[in-house]
């Protein structure tokens, strides 16, 4: 680079050179082996994901399948140990909306039937994971299995209803900082990824509602998809 800088400086100082540089390659500057990349020592990338509560027992399911969902966005750091093994950390925001079934007889969280009703819990979460890669590859994420654990602070705990009054007006009621919702959550996570795309699963070990309120638990298992934000 210094050589071409010299030319450029002369172009300015003497004003006699106006040659257009069509191609320039600085090989010398390219000799340092990179350490940042999808399959290099360090790799940091963003991700977005969408998950859905998954039920194993419909009888105790109080949320609407398909409509309840969780949106995730975050940043992830991966440290390569070998071509087949890596460790990772991530930090992200998670917003989960549990939309409550309104079918009578309704028992959760109470017996009032609303037009719409949901618990919205937003979490600042961090996780740690072990990544097992399958197949030798170059500087690519490749195919992988992640297993780890997460924990987070439920910074937003909201309960919201929407109803229609006699005037055909929409009435929205919202209650925040719910005392009966736990402040923290934690659980296990897993991902199966192929390149930037991954199937995700999270299993919440913590309860949503404080045990002293004796409320039934919402689905613990969340499955979804995730897209890594990298080239």
């Amino acid at each position: 680079m210094k050589h071409i800088l010299t030319v450029s400086l002369l172009l300015i100082s003497l004003g006699a050179f106006s040659q257009e540089i069509l191609l320039q390659q600085n090989v010398k500057a390219d000799t340092v082996r990179p350490t940042r990349g999808p399959n290099l020592k360090n790799f940091t990338y963003g991700y977005i994901g969408l998950g859905f509560p998954f039920y194993t027992n419909e009888a105790v399911n109080y949320t609407k399948p398909g409509l309840s969902s969780a949106f995730n966005i975050g940043i992830r750091y991966k440290r390569r140990l070998t071509n087949y093994l890596a460790l990772g950390l991530d930090l992200g925001l998670n917003s989960t909306a549990y939309k409550i079934k309104q079918k009578e007889p309704k028992t959760f969280p109470d017996n009032t039937v609303n037009d719409k009703e949901k618990f919205q819990i937003s979490t600042l979460a961090s996780s740690a994971f072990v990544r097992i890669n399958v197949g030798r590859r170059g500087n690519y994420i490749g195919n992988y299995l992640d297993m780890g654990a997460y924990g987070g602070w439920n910074f937003q705990k909201k309960y919201k209803t929407i109803n229609t009054n006699d005037e055909e007006e929409k009435v929205k009621e919202s209650t925040t900082q719910l005392k009966y919702v736990e402040n923290f959550s934690y659980g296990l996570l897993g991902r199966i990824g192929i390149g930037r795309y991954a199937l995700t699963a999270g299993y919440r070990l913590s309860d949503i509602f404080k045990s002293s309120y004796a409320m039934p638990e919402l689905p613990r298992l969340m499955v979804g998809v995730e897209v890594g934000l990298f080239k």
């Binding site: 040659q19 257009e20 191609l23 390659q25 600085n26 590859r137 170059g138 690519y140 199966i192 070990l205």
Partner: protein, 545 residues
């Protein structure tokens, strides 16, 4: 309850885990020996293969040419799911086997080693939709792709690659059995053999799948009426299908098997417009010895064949560098030229190799007109620069059959439009027919002057640049290499590089020359032992700094 759900989740992952890996597990089984009692090269090889070996001073009875032991193969084939290929050069078999079978194979007394073959992905140059019409711009490219390689001179000398046998290793030759661009070859029975290495059941049928190989073939030898697409219209051909679009494991194995087949069938030249890069390798593994296909290509060259390979199309990508096997020292790697500008086209992969050897070796048009299954088409990629040079190589070899493959390799480098100047974008530039046909006509008329002062070095061109786009007004300023007379006319570029004392370029530039004083460089910017190399219109000079 919690535990059971966790187990459910875990079991789900474990169930899905195998999906991450491919169902096939391809392995290379290497044998300790061949245990051959007798090998008759005269019955085993094609006459041309024997001729090439004799010509190159190679032994006819070389153990690496002995077939793999049949008893070993028979026994192994009964123990695995499928045999993919066998390789006499590596004394090995590629097989599809599970872990248990691999363990059993390892116990065999004659098995040296079992290596798992990793997945890879082929990178192939673009195969655009064809257009039956050739517009003005395309006609210009079609003319230029051969004119830059001296088609007029070759034709005048009656050179068309006759007597040379070229093997093309490619993804498929869709409709090449019907495309009229190859009528002259079929009519004269110069298509010697074909083989589909990707599907044993297909045997010799290669005319399906992908038209990439059809286009590549046309860039070597295509001709429709008066329209000539490649230079070696008189050569003989071997077509090998070594790729299939859905197969991610075996390409390099098929490449090896096809190279051995080409060797056996008397090929003089192999053209491979294929490359393997980041899906499998890191670019620092492009050191000419790491990748499987690179090792195979070097063995092919050791057998006396000239291996011509596309440099790759990653010049604009993060990969940036040549792929495998273009990194092999014995492979003539071909970079791409933009017909519009006359210098490196942006997608053409750069050198050097990771061990700092020059690649590509030479260049040709990376944007071409080729014969696709249903007509002429405009397409781009070093995939097509490579066959243009393969055709050139056949013509060059025809002029002097006493050359060995590596002597020809060096002569093609010397024929480059920039030679002795080089850089890692163009190699030695575009090969010139004149080097092989009229060596005596090469002159060394200086086209620029290097003015050395105490503090700086200036490069001043010896040319009236008032008519920048026209012909030179100076009768003494006559191009000494073909590029100025044979290419598109946009050659007023000055190339310079800074070479360190190890002979490796630290940096290089191409400048558009619009004024006589092109470059001024301060001496204080350089280290001891560095060299400034400059090239302008056929004339090169080196200055020790």
């Amino acid at each position: 309850m919690l535990k059971s759900k966790f187990l459910f989740l875990l079991s789900g992952f474990l169930f899905l885990l195998p999906l991450l890996s491919e169902a096939q597990q391809l392995c290379m089984v290497y044998f300790k020996d061949k245990q051959h009692n007798e090998f008759n090269p005269y019955s085993y090889f094609d006459a041309k293969a024997l001729e090439r070996r004799i010509h190159n001073g190679l032994p006819l009875d070389d153990p690496s040419d002995w077939p793999v032991n049949e008893a070993y193969m028979n026994e192994v084939s009964l123990m695995v799911n499928e045999v993919i290929i066998e390789s006499r050069w590596l004394n090995a078999m590629a097989v599809d086997a599970d872990d248990l079978q691999i363990n059993t194979l390892r116990q065999l007394p004659y098995v040296l080693n079992v290596e798992w073959i990793e997945p890879s992905e082929m990178n192939m140059a673009g195969y655009d939709d064809y257009d039956t019409s050739v517009n003005t711009n395309e006609a210009k490219i079609l003319e230029g792709q051969l004119k830059t390689l001296g088609v007029d001179a070759w034709q005048k000398a009656g050179i068309d690659g006759k007597g040379l046998r070229i093997a093309i290793l490619d993804v498929g030759f869709d409709h090449a059995d019907k495309v009229p661009a190859f009528d002259h070859i079929r009519n004269e029975n110069r298509l010697i053999a074909t083989h589909d290495f990707t599907n044993r059941k297909n045997g010799e049928y290669v005319y399906y799948g992908n038209g990439h190989g059809t286009q590549v073939w046309s860039c070597i030898a295509g001709k429709i009426g008066d329209i000539q697409i490649g230079l070696a219209t008189g050569a003989e051909f071997l077509l090998a299908k070594t790729e299939k679009s859905s197969e991610k494991y075996s390409e390099e194995l098929y490449w090896l098997a096809a190279a051995e087949w080409a060797d056996k069938n008397g090929a003089d030249i192999i053209n491979s417009s294929l490359g393997y890069t980041g899906k499998r390798y890191f670019n620092w593994q492009m050191d000419g010895k790491t990748s499987f296909v690179t090792r195979a290509a070097n063995i092919a060259a050791r057998k006396g064949m000239l291996v011509v390979n596309a440099a790759g199309n990653e010049g604009s990508d993060s990969w940036h560098y040549v792929g495998a096997p273009a990194d092999a020292d014995s492979v003539l790697s071909i970079g791409g030229i933009d017909p519009e500008t006359g210098y490196h086209t942006s997608f053409s992969s750069y050198g050097p190799t990771s061990d700092k050897r020059m690649k590509p070796n030479v260049s040709a048009y990376g944007h071409v007109i080729a014969a696709a299954p249903a007509g002429l088409t405009s397409t781009q990629g070093t995939s097509f620069a490579s066959p243009l040079v393969a055709g050139f190589a056949a013509c060059a070899w025809q002029t002097n059959r006493s050359l060995t493959n590596m002597q020809l390799f060096k002569e093609i480098e010397k024929s480059g439009s920039l030679y002795p100047y080089f850089d890692y974008a163009h190699g030695f530039g575009i090969p010139q027919a004149g080097h092989f046909l009229n060596k005596d006509e090469v002159s060394t008329t200086p086209t620029f002057t290097v003015v050395e002062n105490e503090d700086s070095i200036r490069i001043v061109v010896n040319k009236n640049l008032s008519d920048k786009n026209g012909a030179s007004q100076n009768p003494e300023f006559k191009a000494v290499k073909g590029v100025t007379t044979e290419s598109s006319g946009k050659q007023e570029y000055l190339y310079y590089n800074i070479m360190n004392k190890s002979g490796v370029l630290d940096s290089y530039y191409v400048l558009d020359v619009t004024q006589p004083e092109v470059v001024s460089i301060l001496r204080s910017d350089f280290h001891d032992g560095e060299t400034l190399n400059v090239h302008f219109e056929g004339y090169s000079i080196s200055v020790k700094l």
